[in-house]
Symmetry: C2
DNA sequence: CGAAACCTTGACAATGTTCAATCACTGTGG
DNA sequence: CCACAGTGATTGAACATTGTCAAGGTTTCG
């Protein structure tokens, strides 16, 4: 792969020439259709995965066999960083494409090598990690402070392009429900609530919003943030 | 403060001599009794706080005035890293001592300066951040996958020194309830459950455990981790 | 001792889950 | 082109869990 390719990616853009060379040497580019297993438990332990486009679900199972959504990532997000240090103790996961996707993979030891040898890259990586941390904290707050309807409203708001009144859910409702910490049935009913209470019109995966202000007022009452919280 | 002091702290131990000098110059050491406000919203934005001993609650409020526990930290943990880059957009918090505490504070810009100038320190800091991330992810999983009783059991297990059958809750039950995402009333009832189901004897804040194996079996059924998950 | 904070308990309400049935949509093969 | 299977989405009813409110007990600390 060409080094210029990485120059266009925020996370790598400021890396040294040597780093870019290393990247271009060890990176693989992938294109997958929806519903393919991209990483199994073993692979997740030494693969760094960067999403160029599309959506990927990261998941594992509890000891009694229930699926746990670790994360749902898209464009410009990545996974695999937790195995960079102390590969022991970290819990592996599986990755599944939930839309057609383009993504890059490289061995985690390469990313680690870049971090160790390229200070500037390490700084960018740290910044990205801190941003992810911030997002995690918010997600956690939402799970405890907001009820099902509010969590959905919040998700929709964050998906909404300012000034557009329409959007499409990026993946199916069952997974979205799970990501937001509720059952599909609860999701279905909560979305109906939202429709009544806030003028949100749902047609399959397409959503129309009469007045975003309704949503904003509804969500931010029980949130510690201020609109727009622009968290992915 | 002496530079040797920092040598003994894991996070700082490998920092360069210059870094240690800077630290010793800008660090303040504090001793506070229980129930003191250590940081207000403004201070949290430019203060890095490292806990030497004791417990600290980090919290803020939703827009309708409900308290949100951001984190509860102790020995060898810290807060303030999110304001290191992009001070905008980050949500400030307040810090309250919930036991007698000893802690260090330094301006975030100093930590940032160290990270930028001292590659080795940056690496250690990144590692600490990734560990924190891992812990966050687990906390999030627990909130969605485990019920009230399981969350308490899990917390107790992580507090339990291997081979000791007794422990003391580090701070009051109301706060612990909130940290674990439930109401005090629910906590009280759930703890009673645990007592019956797993042979956990509660006497105020003191807890005795007949057979840790009972607890372990109880918790790890609905968890994706393996005992011991050693997450703080 | 007495006030304040913390904890527990009960009755009840709200919220979310489970299970079963049905419907809608999509892609497949005859 | 249609029948059909498979997946995802919705709905209702019963149930489980957690939250709310009010009251009373306990502990702590000045």
């Amino acid at each position: 792969m060409k080094t210029t390719y990485f120059k266009a990616i925020n996370l790598f853009s400021q890396a040294s020439t040597e780093s870019l060379d290393t990247l271009s040497q060890f990176t693989q580019r992938h294109f997958y259709k929806k519903n393919n297993l991209l990483l199994d438990y073993d692979q997740s332990k030494n693969t760094f995965l960067y999403v160029v486009s599309g959506w990927i679900k990261l998941f594992k199972e509890t000891n009694d066999g229930v699926e746990v959504i670790v994360d749902v990532i898209t464009q410009n997000h990545y996974c695999g960083e937790s195995f960079m240090f102390d590969a022991t103790e970290r819990e592996p996961y599986k990755a599944l494409s939930i839309s057609d996707v383009e993504f890059l993979t490289m061995p985690t030891y390469i990313i680690k090598r870049l971090i160790v040898t390229d200070h500037i890259f390490a700084l960018h990586f740290l910044r990205a990690t801190l941003e992810k941390q911030q997002h995690n904290n918010n997600h956690r707050e939402h799970l405890t402070m907001q009820n099902a309807t509010e969590r959905i409203a919040c998700f929709i708001l964050r998906l909404l392009d300012s000034k557009k009144l329409t959007l499409e859910l990026p993946y199916d409702k069952t997974l979205l429900a799970s990501h937001l910490g509720m059952r599909p049935e609860t999701f279905s009913r909560a979305l109906k609530n939202l429709s009544k209470q806030c003028g949100v019109h749902v047609q399959g995966g397409n959503i129309n919003i009469d007045h975003p202000d309704n949503l904003i007022r509804y969500v931010y009452e029980h949130c510690s943030n201020i609109y727009p919280c622009n968290l992915h």
